[in-house]
């Protein structure tokens, strides 16, 4: 009888554990595991659409390492931006930019990390912030909610002022099935939704769910930027001293 009770207790404990609601911190950990792979490289297009409907399209290659702590971006198209490159280290706290026309490397101050990259709705921090989510925000799981027909966890991340976060708050819908975020709202200090990031066309690349299309909508300016992944791999290994000025100038 004691043995039977022990089995029942064990099963009950397992069921309770499995159905336990993950905390905000756990959700951020799970999300970071998927979103920030150790290394990656990709070729992407970036289409900026203004409020009047005019479009500009860019193509760039991007290399990341250290779970997004280091990022190197180099524009391939159009001709006006060709060769322009950005090196972001320490989760985009340190940014260097290279101008091929003048062969000059310039260090940008951290006040520019919230600024638009090539006029897009993505900021330097959006592109190269790595796992700053874990260190610059306190996160809370607000429970279950359906988004676009998908069962999601709703996560709220409040910026820690001392860490100087880019956004005062972020609201995330992440798929319960694999903890992959499909919608992120970025709030300003007045609790107004400044930007919304939508992740779609999610495919398994080398076993990692990957959004092949990301659209950032800027609600303040009425613009949007769509990034389409043309190619990506997580098996890329950066050569030694890759994330340096030498590579930036190539």
């Amino acid at each position: 009888m004691k043995k039977f009770l022990a089995i029942i207790m064990s099963i009950a404990t397992t069921i309770i554990a499995q159905s336990a609601i993950p905390t905000g911190t756990e959700l951020v950990e799970k999300m970071s595991e998927i979103m920030t792979q150790e290394n990656s490289t990709a070729i992407m297009t970036q289409t900026i659409t203004t409020s009047s409907g005019k479009q500009r399209t860019f193509e760039f290659e991007m290399f990341t390492s250290g779970e997004g702590e280091k990022t190197l971006m180099r524009y391939l198209k159009p001709s006006a931006a060709r060769g322009q490159a950005f090196l972001m280290l320490n989760n985009a706290d340190d940014i260097w930019t290279y101008f091929p026309r003048t062969k000059r490397v310039r260090k940008l101050s951290s006040s520019s990390k919230n600024q638009k990259v090539q006029g897009s709705d993505f900021s330097f921090e959006d592109m190269g912030s790595g796992d700053s989510w874990k260190t610059e925000y306190n996160s809370t799981n607000l429970g279950s909610e359906k988004y676009d027909g998908t069962d999601c966890w709703k996560l709220e991340s409040i910026g820690i002022p001392e860490e100087n976060p880019s956004y005062s708050k972020m609201g995330v819908y992440m798929r319960k099935a694999d903890f992959y975020p499909i919608k992120i709202n970025y709030f300003d200090e007045n609790d107004f939704i400044e930007k919304t990031l939508l992740m779609s066309d999610i495919k398994e690349i080398e076993g990692v769910p990957t959004a092949m299309k990301m659209t950032m909508k800027n609600h303040l300016e009425g613009t949007e930027t769509t990034m389409q992944t043309l190619f990506t791999t997580y098996s890329w290994q950066p050569p030694e001293n890759f994330f340096t000025e030498r590579e930036l100038k190539k």
Binding site: S79, A80, K103, K107, T244
Partner: protein, 393 residues
């Protein structure tokens, strides 16, 4: 037959791995000075070529073709305060018929190979050989350590002309690297030699530079009415530090120049920049150049000539530069650029609009207003405006 086919195929195979790109630039300017208004303009084609015969090898070149229009003949004396040139060209005691009223400069249509180089990447260093653009220093408007170039005041980010050089860049570890540049002259003494050690510490980048070369400076010989070249050995000990404090970028770049024949001098730039949440960007720099002249009363025609020829970074000693830009929308940028000569109290103010009209097509419009007495660096001109259209391909 097959040999002929191979010969025909060879350039196709080479160019098959090559890229051609560049831009068309058309500019129209109107300037008012010396009580006259002048129109001036040009059409420029820059054609770049880049090939990668190997993953680690780049061959790059560009040809610039520039055709001037409207006013192509200028009088240099119009750009100089009258008290600088009148004692030489219209000396007292000479009859008016003997006076010289013009020193003509013609803008000739040009076609030249601006850069042509080969860059090879080895395991422990990169080697670039040939005519190449060399941009040194961290300053925006001025670079005291840059012995190869002098920036345009109203357009400090315009590309620089290529320099014949051999350059080896050795990455040492992380952000530390060694840069060795040799620009050959007619002998070892006249060749420019430069060593630069770069490193990073926390949020700061820094470098130490040592250079040595023969400085050629233009001097006007008033007896023969000829321009002659004076040579002087220059040894430069320089350095720079760039980083940030509470989100604002700060930098300091300086050089101590040891001269063989003239007085040694120091040149220092200190600058800061900041980007506000709304996209407003502000940058300011102060230049102290002891090679410049401290008082306008001590200026002579040679100081102006050397400055116009790009042989010195500034005419006088103390300058303030400021630039702000603000994105009106995703494609239109407003800018306001200003220069102040703190020694003769003259200034240039330059509001400008940049419009990305189409993908790869930019239009820039700027107005220049010059402030100061007629015998000052900027006050000698009245106003000007410029339209520049650039289309990349």
């Amino acid at each position: 037959m097959s040999k002929k086919i191979s010969l025909f195929l060879l350039p196709i195979l080479i160019f098959g791995q090559s890229n051609f790109f560049g831009y068309y630039e058309g500019e129209f300017d109107q300037l008012k000075f010396a009580n006259q208004t002048y129109n001036y303009g040009y059409n420029k084609l820059r054609l770049d070529f880049e090939a990668h015969p190997d993953d680690m090898v780049t061959i790059g070149a560009n040809i610039n073709i520039q055709k001037y229009n409207d006013n192509i003949s200028w009088n240099l004396l119009d750009f100089l305060p009258s008290d600088i040139w009148q004692p030489i060209f219209q000396p007292e005691g000479y009859h008016e018929e003997m006076w010289i009223t013009e020193f003509p400069i013609a803008l000739l249509d040009t076609m030249y190979l601006d850069n042509i180089y080969l860059k090879a990447g080895f395991e422990h260093f990169d080697l670039t050989v040939g005519k190449q653009q060399i941009s040194l220093g961290t300053g925006y408007a001025w670079n005291p350590i840059d012995i190869f170039n002098s920036k345009q005041l109203l357009d400090p980010t315009y590309e620089q002309t290529g320099v014949n050089a051999v350059r080896a860049e050795f990455p040492i570890k992380g952000r530390t690297s060694l840069d060795v540049i040799l620009s050959p002259g007619k002998d070892w003494t006249e060749s420019a030699k430069m060593l630069q050690l770069k490193t990073g510490l926390g949020r700061f980048d820094m470098h130490g530079t040592i250079g040595q070369y023969t400085w050629n400076r233009m001097v006007f010989d008033p007896h023969q009415f000829l321009l002659i070249t004076q040579k002087d050995e220059r040894t430069l000990f320089g350095g720079a530090i760039v980083g940030e404090i509470v989100g604002a970028g700060i930098w300091l770049e300086g050089a101590w120049n040891q001269m063989e024949n003239q007085d040694d001098f120091a040149e220092v730039v200190i600058g800061t920049d900041y980007t506000f949440e709304n996209g407003l960007y502000i940058i300011m720099e102060y230049l102290r150049n002891e090679n410049g002249i401290s008082s306008k009363e001590n200026l002579d025609i040679n100081h102006y000539l050397q400055y116009f020829m790009g042989e010195t970074h500034s005419l006088m000693q103390d300058y303030l530069f400021g630039f702000l830009s603000y994105p009106i929308n995703d494609f239109i940028q407003f800018g306001l650029l200003g220069f102040g000569n703190l020694n003769d109290n003259s200034a240039a103010l330059n509001p400008q609009i940049s419009w990305n009209m189409f993908q790869d097509v930019d239009l820039t419009m700027m107005y220049s207003h010059f402030i100061g007495d007629d015998n000052t660096e900027f006050g000698v001109q009245d106003w000007g405006w410029r339209i520049r259209l650039r289309g990349y391909f």
